[in-house]
């Protein structure tokens, strides 16, 4: 009972995704113009509220059911020495997520968000992409489907995060393969690899790109990605089908999103960028996606942490939009 039988089926799903609601967008703009503040004085908050209203099809929306999903996966390239942490940390951190001890648990709770954790075949890492494709089509489809199924149809805002030792290597390879440039443009220190590790990591990215580049976003997702990255892509696509707005997290989340955008150019219209990560290639990746980050706080943790924090800003934007009095209601003179 899968929602897509092959990559062609997934691409077709992306191609027939719904757009925002024009009537709600108009209603939201009309409401915004009447609120008790000088025109545009809430700056980007006004744009965020308008975007949210349009996607929810409601000119005066509320955020009452946000969802954070953390996907975890293991990577064949971890064995090559590309990370500052050993691969067993992935499963240890999954336990930490489940026990409520990670950063994302605190930030999801603060945002009033439901949090789900999906560990994807942690005992079966993807293949080493310097030797062959990271995943078969069937494996990638299964991961996409996991992400697709993880989205709560009743959610009204989605953040997807990840955990997977070596996954900045995978994300860098995806970005380099789809956007060009040198491997070193996209390869950063991740969780804090040293100079020698960074050199190895850059070489691994370069080898992966040399072997696999040429194909669309879904092709690169399978050949260079990881299960958690594919699951994030699947969840972002499902959110679009359900018109659930998404706040993108850092480098790895944006690499997953890039796979969708390079397959169907409008696939991320329901997404905003939550933050600018300190991970080297993220600024360039956001620029390629045409997304201006809400926050810039030097975070580089993943897990969905930056996006979960940006949820608070969006909640503020929507609270102002939907909760403020109009000039007429408040008896305030207009300028």
């Amino acid at each position: 009972m899968s929602d897509f039988d092959d990559f062609a089926g997934f691409r077709a799903r992306l191609a027939r995704a719904p757009g925002p609601d024009a009537a709600a967008a108009e209603g939201a703009a009309a409401r915004n113009a009447q609120l008790t503040k000088p025109p545009a004085a809430l700056g980007r908050l006004e744009d965020m509220a308008a975007w949210y209203a349009a996607w929810r099809g409601d000119p005066r929306p509320a955020i009452t059911a946000p969802q954070v999903i953390v996907f975890a996966g293991n990577h064949g390239v971890a064995a090559l020495g590309v990370s500052a942490f050993p691969a067993e940390v992935t499963v240890q951190m999954v336990a930490n997520f489940r026990a409520g001890g990670a950063a994302i648990n605190q930030l999801a709770r603060l945002a009033g968000a439901r949090m789900d954790v999906h560990a994807l075949d942690l005992d079966r890492p993807t293949a080493d992409f310097t030797q062959g494709p990271a995943m078969t089509e069937a494996e990638c489809l299964a991961a996409l489907q996991s992400g697709w199924d993880a989205v709560d149809a009743g959610a009204d805002l989605l953040v997807v995060g990840e955990m997977g030792i070596a996954n900045t290597t995978s994300a860098a390879a995806i970005a380099c393969a789809l956007l060009g440039g040198e491997a070193s443009d996209w390869t950063g220190r991740g969780t804090g690899v040293d100079d020698a590790g960074l050199s190895v990591k850059t070489q691994v990215v370069a080898e992966g790109v040399a072997r696999h580049a040429g194909g669309d976003g879904i092709d690169m997702l399978a050949r260079l990605g990881g299960r958690e990255i594919a699951a994030m892509a699947g969840a972002i696509a499902r959110a679009r089908a359900l018109r659930i707005p998404v706040i993108l997290d850092g480098f790895i989340c944006c690499a997953a999103a890039l796979c969708l955008a390079k397959t169907e150019s409008s696939a991320l219209d329901h997404c905003i960028a939550g933050h600018l990560s300190a991970e080297g290639g993220h600024a360039r990746l956001l620029q390629a996606l045409g997304k201006d980050p809400v926050l810039s706080l030097g975070m580089r943790l993943g897990e969905g942490s930056g996006a979960a924090l940006a949820m608070q800003v969006l909640k503020g934007a929507v609270a102002c939009h939907s909760g403020m009095a109009t000039f007429a209601e408040a008896g305030v003179s207009e300028g």
Copy 2:
């Protein structure tokens, strides 16, 4: 029963303000190093949590009683045509704050903050500072005392906001008088004054500075400020005496804070900058204060709105710091 009888008494209060708690700072740093994340991966959130812990004297603090105070005042210079809105909007917006209809009401509620509104002699605007001092020493002291008294001694985080038609004119004059440069460097469009109004406003600022410059921050506060600006300064000073951390808002709040910093250089050590306003001179003012804004969202509303939104980021920082598991607690391998 005032806390300071004259400006000299207020200056003495500033001079004997307490500093942060070194033991709590050490304890917070030690805790941070053990949390289940790569070193420094939460970026600025880690600095914010450390700052908050040090000022609260608690290595593992919680934010449970934030306070937002909005001060309102009227300005003699409003009659000169420096604003896009008529002066009666000040009292109308006070009613809107009290009814819960303004942006700050929504943002304070979202942050779980108590919100207080203090309207300061709205029927008695300050004097036109192009003709003489805006306030007498007694008037300025009364406003400082109003701010001082408005702080809840049980609060654990403070935001001060303002409402006062023409108060960006006053703030620009204060900044120009205390920091130098041309009137046009500091004069922006405020709530949205047109080109002709901006020209008048710049001239008013220049005249005020020419007449009154020369003196410390408290002198300029009285001669060029407004009651709500003085009250903000009084509240920021009281928060320091109580070791309550403060998040500064936009241009007007920072002009109030500047009056303290130019009187006692360490007077703002318990403050961080909540956001970068779209109001012209704010970036320059923040630079002079040595404060890096948490948010940059093009907001320019005042009321404490940007700072109240930044409360959410600080709450996230403190929630991570105090709520996350350590490596040992979670059984996660360190890098």
